[in-house]
Amino acid sequence: MKLLRLALRTLRREWHLAELRTLAASLLLAVVALGVVATLASRVERGLLASAAELIGGDAGLSAPQALPQAYADEARRRELAVTRSARFPSVAFAGERGQLLDVDAVDRAWPLRGVLELAAHGSSTIGHGPAPGTVYLDHRALVALGLAVGQRVQVGGQQLTIAAELVREPDGGELVAMAPRAVMNLADAQRAGLLGVGSRAGHQLLVAGAPAAVDGWLAWAKAHPLPQGARLVTTEQTQERMRSAFDRAGAFLRLTALLSALLAGVAIALAAQRYARRKTPEIALLRALGTARGRVIGLLVATLAALAVPMALLGVLLALGVAEGAWRLAGTQLVHVPTTLPLLPALGAAAMGLAVLAGFALPPLARLAEVPPVAVFRASMVRRMRRVDTLYLVPALVALALIWSQSGSAKLAGILAASLLGVAVVAALLALLLLWLARRIAPGAHPALRLGLAALARRRALSTVQATALSLGLVALLLLAVVAPALLDGWRRELPADTPNWFALNLQDDQRADFTQRLQQLGARELNMLPLAMGKLTSINGTPVDRLHFADPRAKDWVDRQLRLSWTGTLPPSNRVIAGQWVGAQPPRAEVSIDTMWRDMFGLKLGDRMRFDVGEGTLDATVASVRQVDWSSFRVNFFLLLDPAHASGLPHTWLASFYLPRGHAEALAQLSRDYGNLSLVDVDALLDRVREIVGQVGGAVRWVLAFSLLAGALVLAAALATSAAERRHEAALLRTLGARRGQLRLAAACEFALLGLIAGLTSALGAAGAGWWLGRAVFRLDGFMPPLAPLAGAALLSAVVIMLLGLAGTRRVTRTSPMRLLREQ
């Protein structure tokens, strides 16, 4: 306790020191940056789960091809969960002469338990629940196809129902495909009409909702019992999977931002701690000379640091929570329609991490401080020189690695960042040593004023190298934050341009192609793309029938039993990348197949393996010619297996068309689907909208955090630089005594800091460009991503100039005040 009191007193006395304030500010920055992002990420995660529930219409459920046993509903009610039942089936609806195949949801009046059923009637939209008996909701396409309006009657399943409202949006389980126009009717009506009986094509669903613990309990109970034939549990996690890919990348952005801010803070902490240690050296030497034990010196240092750090970390937690809440309100509310509470744990975790950063980066210089020998009282300059190799300085490197590892959430992101930063550190150190060596070489022959600055740098080789390296690392973090991250975000946004295909047409026949294309063009469709589609089965690999092969991967068995979708094309589709072998091309001498990485891994395939496919009556033997990496989140039509056109075009096939059609063509599309009765039209607008929304919202949140940490990072870096500039003041004062002109001091400082700025600017620009390029391709999967080189070069130049100006600013005080006062101050 005595120690703590002493530490508090020390802190109060030393609080005016710039380096202690820098330490405090850096810690604050680290905690806030880490805390904001961790809080936001956990909240978005929760929100995503909640929005998955909205898509399902409940928190969890069970679906099966037949009616579900009553026990599941009873168990849910016993756990005080709300329950709803529904069924989905195709049915043809009639209105006068017209008939139209509809996807019908038959629901009870409690449905949906989560999410919204949006209805429109008489020009206004409302949020509602399942329709009353005798009524039905039809979506716009159905209304148009049948030539009906709200209030009129329609015949569904032999029953005359009144159209109570137009169906605008319903919880649809996050289904990509809405094959047919939709209708929602009353479950009891459907039962009465015999639409759900044995032999019907209805799928049944039971949904529950309520307190999370009760839902989990119900799910556990359901899992503990054998499920009815063909039934499967519906959980938010599965549904959320589809949004995952979009969210994962957003999360990577957020984590990258926080990580870089924390590392930036670490650099500033290291610089400030070094400076603090130097300042404390005479004092510690005195304490030691007066008989203070080394343990006590360490204790005092640690206690002082703790007295500074703990309140700062707590302040950081509060700020992080505040900022996260603000960012959530500004950017996040539309992401999720369910209110979520502010989680506290992530921010506390960030505080712990911030303290670890402080300890890791401040430890080496302070630990060395405890080793100051008492004899240093007599010769302060003796202990000033640094050790050339000091294993203690591995500690911050390890802390940085641990931080990168724990925060990045992906080994790839961690690896790339760590490698880039290490590369930058090494290059910066080498460049610094080289330039300093050069400086020493040319100093004697240089202009006398330049000579002074060059000589000053060259003589402090160790310190200058450390400083150049630290500045480079800091600048890389800043450049990545300021220039590369926004470019990555833009690249991602551009990936889903406004005219991304939003419709798919399945089952198009060969002889319909030309006509269909013409019709679409008349409608104003763009980006039309057609791919052949054959359904077949894999029958043997390298001559061995698949049923006699044993696969380690359990998925393989599944795929062997399934009908596979096969296609062929002469050109490599966009969002595909060949990672092994050669792309098939249009005219290979023998039949070839290109497989994606999942198939390679599932079946243990390699180049040159032979695969046999049965398609209808025909068979095809193809050799594995290439392995593709496919970006499945690209919203394009992609295939696991691509054959070559020369050999595959003889197989029985249909065509799959994708195209972009602006909204508001429901009527024309309905006509189209009537004219091509065999065609299935699939609308992916809703899903595209949702992903665009996520990109937009998360992008907003990222920018928010980015701008904030950027500002704080720049401030801390400037402070660190200013502290080191103060170090030169005594020397400058002495030179002043010897009659150095203001211009000489300025030129010396300018030359010194320009050299530092040059090293830092150059290495950081290269580092940021390299890391950005690598990150863009490997982590954010942006094909052909190029970091913006001109802005990077500009920013690097600007930072070099700023570093020089900051150095110059440090000389201002010297040239203004009388040298007498400066000498006395020392």
Binding site: R385, L734, L738, G739, R816
Partner: protein, 231 residues
């Protein structure tokens, strides 16, 4: 010794006031003195009497609160810091009680500093010579931390006169040294005064050192105790 009509260094009614934590503090009041070229001049007095302050004023390191100081015919208080720096470089050399060598530089590089500031090309050769003259030719690659106090002070003396200043100011140059080393350092200073006719202004506690000077004044609580002693 013939006395030129114009003194090299002259203080007229100089006072220095600072604003400290406890309010106004008069460090110097009404100090007048004159030092002629080639003289050796001692300023003695008790600790805290204002010797260092006076020396700083005479050398143009600071400006008086009132009164005027002329160095080589220039009124220091009328010049700005930049002009005074220029004057210092041309006319003045310094030796401090606590040496004030730059720890990152070798002995030779420390001595080179004033020449480098003037932009001289022969800095290294002249610095070498100066170090030889103070008997440290063999130690010129050493850093201050590797030198003893006396050796450091000799380096400081070499630095102070290497560019041939007109006046050499020394603030208790022997204060940190033992008697013998102190005497050696003092011998060096007086040899400069004698051989190069460098004017020497010396602050000291040491009565024997003061006695070796041609003239001197005593400060008591910021005031001159007696008129300057005639040589």
């Amino acid at each position: 010794m013939s006395e030129p009509s114009q003194p090299l260094l002259e203080a007229r009614d100089v006072s220095k006031t600072v604003r400290g934590p406890e309010g106004r503090l008069d460090i110097l009041a009404g100090v007048s003195l004159a030092v002629h070229a080639g003289e050796s001049f001692a300023i003695v007095g008790a600790s805290g009497s204002g010797k260092t302050t006076l020396l700083g004023l005479l050398a143009g390191l600071d400006v008086p609160s009132a009164g005027s100081i002329h160095l080589g015919g220039h009124a220091l208080e009328a010049m700005d810091e930049e002009a005074r720096a220029d004057l210092r470089r041309r006319m003045v050399g310094f030796v401090f009680q606590s040496f004030h060598l730059l720890p990152a530089l070798t002995a030779e590089e420390n001595v080179m500093l004033p020449l480098e500031l003037e932009g001289r090309d022969d800095a290294r050769a002249r610095a070498h010579e100066a170090l030889e003259a103070v008997g440290l030719g063999a130690r010129r690659r050493h850093h201050p931390a590797q030198l003893s106090g006396g050796e450091q002070q000799r380096v400081a003396i070499a630095r102070a006169y290497v560019h041939g200043p007109h006046v050499l100011f020394a603030d208790e140059p022997t204060g940190n040294l033992d008697q013998r080393t102190g005497r050696h350092v003092a011998d060096l200073l007086f040899a400069l005064n004698r051989d190069h006719r460098t004017t020497l202004v010396l602050v000291t506690h040491d009565a024997t050192l003061a006695a070796r000077c041609s003239r001197g004044v005593e400060l008591i609580e910021g005031r001159l105790a007696a008129p300057a002693v005639a040589p």
